[in-house]
């Protein structure tokens, strides 16, 4: 397939729509528990910043830490129950580190990430979250297209 063609919207064989939907429902239930139980947005970047004291305001730090610690615990439970999950990292640690800094700056300036804006805010029909989500998905698509064009795709 050429690096630049018309997008192909047919369901490819490597897609996992069923597992995606089930995992997505779990994520939505998790966010609903946070909203209905604690009255807060289950936004990972906000909770993580709050946990380490890099955000003024927001959830009490115990709530933030508990949510953040739960994430790897949940992943570990799935691995223990069903075996290793696929996790491919062909890009190298330097790229991971650069991306991490950019994601850190961007999510704080933008007040949220895929969870806070994408899941919680979009389902609330928040104008800010809809705009933010369109921005980061568009920027991600452009970034991947440019990296592919420069021959650095993976």
């Amino acid at each position: 397939m050429p690096a630049f063609g018309m997008p192909d919207f047919a369901m490819p064989a490597f897609a996992m729509p069923g597992q995606g939907l089930i995992g997505g429902l779990m994520i939505g239930i998790a966010a609903a528990i946070m909203l209905l139980g604690n009255g807060r947005i289950a936004g990972v970047s906000g909770m993580a910043a709050r946990a380490v004291g890099l955000s003024d305001g927001g959830a009490p730090r115990s709530i933030a830490w508990a949510f953040v610690i739960g994430l790897p615990i949940g992943a570990a439970i799935v691995v223990l129950a069903t075996g290793p999950v696929v996790a491919r990292y062909p890009m190298g640690l330097a790229t991971v580190a650069v991306a991490g800094v950019v994601v850190g700056i961007g999510t704080r300036l933008g007040s949220g990430c895929t969870s806070g804006h994408g899941v919680c805010g979009m389902s609330r029909l928040s104008k800010r979250s809809i705009v933010a989500t369109l921005c980061f998905i568009a920027a991600g698509i452009v970034t991947v297209a440019i990296v592919n064009m420069l021959g650095g795709g993976w």
């Binding site: 939505g28 998790a30 994430l71 615990i73 850190g104 933008g110 991600g140």
Partner: protein, 147 residues
């Protein structure tokens, strides 16, 4: 204590959902952004799936005066589209596209791919710290002017 436990349960189910949905695989996440190449629609199903319970939860909150474990809701009430929201989100998207990692999968992967995930999380915290530093400085500078 009850609030902390609710938060832990939420985080745990969230992390499990990320693992089940294949979102701990950067190649798959990046694939969703590879619209003009080897497009992988899985992430769209994850987001769509997640929005179903959340949309219901938002409807349920309309009939509630307060959440189960707190005396009030703590929700963002800003509606302004600011340069910071748009620029920051675009920057986040660039980082997301570079490595196929966003904060949730990055932190959840500490359990499955500790070296790569720790690299991402430490770098992300450095990014958080940079923004916090700049925001706190500009805030104290503004306070200095008004005094």
């Amino acid at each position: 204590m009850r609030r902390t436990l609710i938060s832990l349960v939420s985080g745990t189910i969230f992390g499990a959902g990320l693992a089940v949905s294949g979102m701990l695989d950067p190649v798959r996440v990046r694939g969703f952004l590879d619209l003009f190449g080897r497009w992988d629609p899985t992430l769209a199903f994850v987001m769509g799936g997640a929005m179903i319970p959340m949309a219901i939860a938002w409807l349920v909150t309309r009939g509630m005066t307060n959440p189960f474990a707190d005396t009030q809701f703590h929700l963002p009430d800003t509606t302004r589209l600011t340069p910071s929201l748009i620029g920051g989100s675009a920057l986040f998207g660039i980082g997301w596209g570079l490595a196929g990692l966003c904060p949730g999968p990055g932190i959840a992967s500490l359990a499955t791919r500790p070296v790569e995930a720790a690299t991402f999380v430490v770098a992300m915290l450095a990014g958080f710290a940079l923004v916090a530093l700049i925001q706190r400085r500009s805030r104290s500078a503004m306070q200095g002017e008004t005094v």
